[in-house]
């Protein structure tokens, strides 16, 4: 059985979407079920994704903006139709968290994604499954502002503690906002 079928059989309805690109299989799962999904992927005998390679956030702000612009290039008649269709659905959630898994026995890899809307940045921590998620979750909090529920030490990792923004968000300028680090000695 192919990896795709095994993942579908293991997760059932939890799989919202499946992508396959250049041999990399990716699945999207509901945000609330991430801990149970990853536990099942880890413990299932036919899959055994027992190694967390990495975990990180993605900001899709510009991605959707670019996609919306595309239809404008087409002929004037088509343009209106396409734009109307797009306006119907609610905008997709802004952020994504991507989990890269590895199965050591079979050398297979899987990407698991969840979508996180801007107004609800809380995500369940997976440090209970893998200790390796400790720093990556802190970094995702630092860079994007995800709040990992249940993380034992959710402090900034790469930026300093007093820093207020989340620098990898697309609306944060590359040259910064002129923040200065004031060292205090107490």
């Amino acid at each position: 059985m192919s990896l795709k079928e095994r993942v579908q059989r293991c997760l059932g309805d939890d799989v919202i979407a499946i992508t396959e690109y250049r041999g990399d299989l990716g699945i999207e799962v509901p945000k609330g079920n991430i801990v149970s999904v990853l536990t099942r992927l880890k413990e299932d005998e036919t899959l055994g994704f027992d190694f967390l390679t990495d975990l990180f956030g993605v900001d899709n702000l510009d991605y959707y903006a670019k996609k919306k612009k595309k239809p404008k290039k087409k002929a004037a008649g088509e343009e209106e139709l396409v734009e109307e269709e797009e306006d119907k659905g609610p905008p997709p959630p802004r952020f994504e968290v991507v989990y890269l898994l590895q199965a050591l026995k079979t050398n297979e890899r899987l990407q698991v994604k969840i979508r996180v809307p801007e107004d609800d940045m809380e995500v369940d921590t997976i440090t209970t499954i893998w200790k390796a998620a400790d720093w990556p979750e802190r970094e995702a909090f630092d860079m994007f502002g995800f709040k990992f529920r249940g993380h034992h030490n959710l402090r900034r990792l790469l930026m300093w503690d007093e820093f207020e923004d989340h620098p990898l968000r697309k609306d944060y300028p590359l040259e910064g906002k002129g923040e200065e680090r004031h060292l205090s000695y107490d």
Partner: protein, 379 residues
């Protein structure tokens, strides 16, 4: 907190002393910082602090074109920049579906394995220095300079190489390499033998390294270890064998595995891997010599690199472990998002667990044996 007028330190209720090591300290490799709570000389808890060398490589990557990003990968693991370059190039090639010509792949293999030897030589040399053995450092660093000469003949750079291009390599092996390699191979082996004779059975060395911060295979996998640190714990995992790329499935090489995951095992793994790398270069060089002289070194790559919309992850086995790049393209000439998975990032987060219960001087041995490179850690 009581103030002790004799020692002039703050004492906390459990009588633990907080010691701050780093971020700029001669024994710390790069800008690393550890805040350790100690009871006498024994470490009760240690917490690493990182971010002192954070340059925002991922943010810069979103604003650079695909080719402009290659020099930034040099500045991650500067001990083996070539491996980082190739890891990134291969990720973009996978994203675009480019097949690299075999001769270019062999040039890459040879240069990458040379970088692996250089990286391990630095590690073993510095580990010796940190534990008080200065001589092996000179034996090894002389050989590393010879390897850096080859890099310099290749494109003029010694440390930050910016090796290769997306789709292949820009130049063939330098002419001097063909004369140099047969002698260099022997001198590398000789330096390793001398180091081995000085260290491996040395009583002082054994006392300082055997059983020091041993780590179980289960813990190592849980913490996301890869590379030599994982193999020292007894897990036979090497992406060169498990997910073969380039010609690694055709080469005959062993994967050294340790047992206890202590400093000594990590040292031995590196020593043996250098020997295996020499063997791999020999085999790759033999294959290279069979190639016609005018074989292509670059695949057909458009001048402006615009990968189609999509995302993929590709990782290779660098001297430190699995270095992976996750790239999402939105069809433009700049990556939409680049995520780097540095190997020592995962290793260093377990540092507190590794050194718990050891002496302060052992933390330095631990840090050297893990090969934490601040540039790669903080990106």
């Amino acid at each position: 907190m009581d103030y002790d007028p004799v020692c002039q330190i703050d004492r906390d209720p459990d009588d633990l002393v907080t010691i701050n090591i780093g971020p700029t300290h001669p024994a710390m490799h790069g800008t690393l910082r550890v805040i350790a709570k100690t009871d006498g000389e024994t470490i009760v808890s240690a917490e690493p602090e990182i971010g002192y060398l954070h340059r925002g490589v991922e943010k810069l990557g979103e604003n650079f074109t695909y080719h402009q990003f290659i020099p930034l990968t040099d500045r991650m693991n500067y001990c083996s920049a070539i491996a980082s370059n190739v890891a990134y190039e291969m990720a973009v090639e996978k994203l675009m579906g480019i097949k690299v010509p075999p001769k270019a792949q062999l040039v890459r293999t040879i240069m990458m394995e040379l970088a692996r030897i250089a990286d391990h030589q630095v590690l073993v040399g510095i580990l010796g220095v940190d534990l008080g053995a200065l001589t092996p450092f000179f034996y090894l660093i002389i050989q590393r300079e010879e390897i850096y000469d080859i890099f310099e003949w290749y494109n003029g750079a010694r440390l930050t190489n910016t090796f290769g291009r997306i789709g292949g390599v820009n130049a063939d092996l330098p002419d001097k390499f063909h004369e140099k390699w047969p002698t260099l191979r022997d001198t590398i082996r000789k330096a390793n033998e001398e180091t081995d004779a000085l260290l491996t059975k040395n009583r002082i060395w054994l006392d300082r390294s055997v059983g020091v911060n041993a780590f179980s295979a289960e813990d190592a996998l849980n913490w996301g270890f890869t590379g030599p640190c994982l193999r020292a714990c007894g897990v036979k995992r090497d992406l060169r064998r498990d997910e073969p790329y380039m010609f690694y499935d055709q080469f005959d090489f062993k994967i050294p595995v340790g047992k206890h995951g202590d400093v000594f095992d990590r040292y031995m793994i590196r020593m043996e891997e250098m020997e295996e790398s020499v063997k791999i270069i020999d085999q790759a060089y033999a294959m290279y010599q069979e190639m016609p002289e005018d074989a292509p070194l670059m695949a057909k790559v458009p001048k402006i690199i615009k990968p189609p919309e999509g995302e993929c992850y590709h990782a290779i086995e660098t001297p430190n472990g699995e270095l992976g790049f996750w790239i999402r393209s939105d069809g433009s000439d700049k990556p939409y998002r680049i995520k780097i998975r540095p190997p020592c990032y995962m290793v260093y987060q377990a540092f507190g667990e590794l050194v718990k219960g050891d002496m302060i001087s052992d933390t330095i041995a631990c840090l050297s044996s893990l090969n934490i490179i601040a540039g790669e850690l903080d990106r």
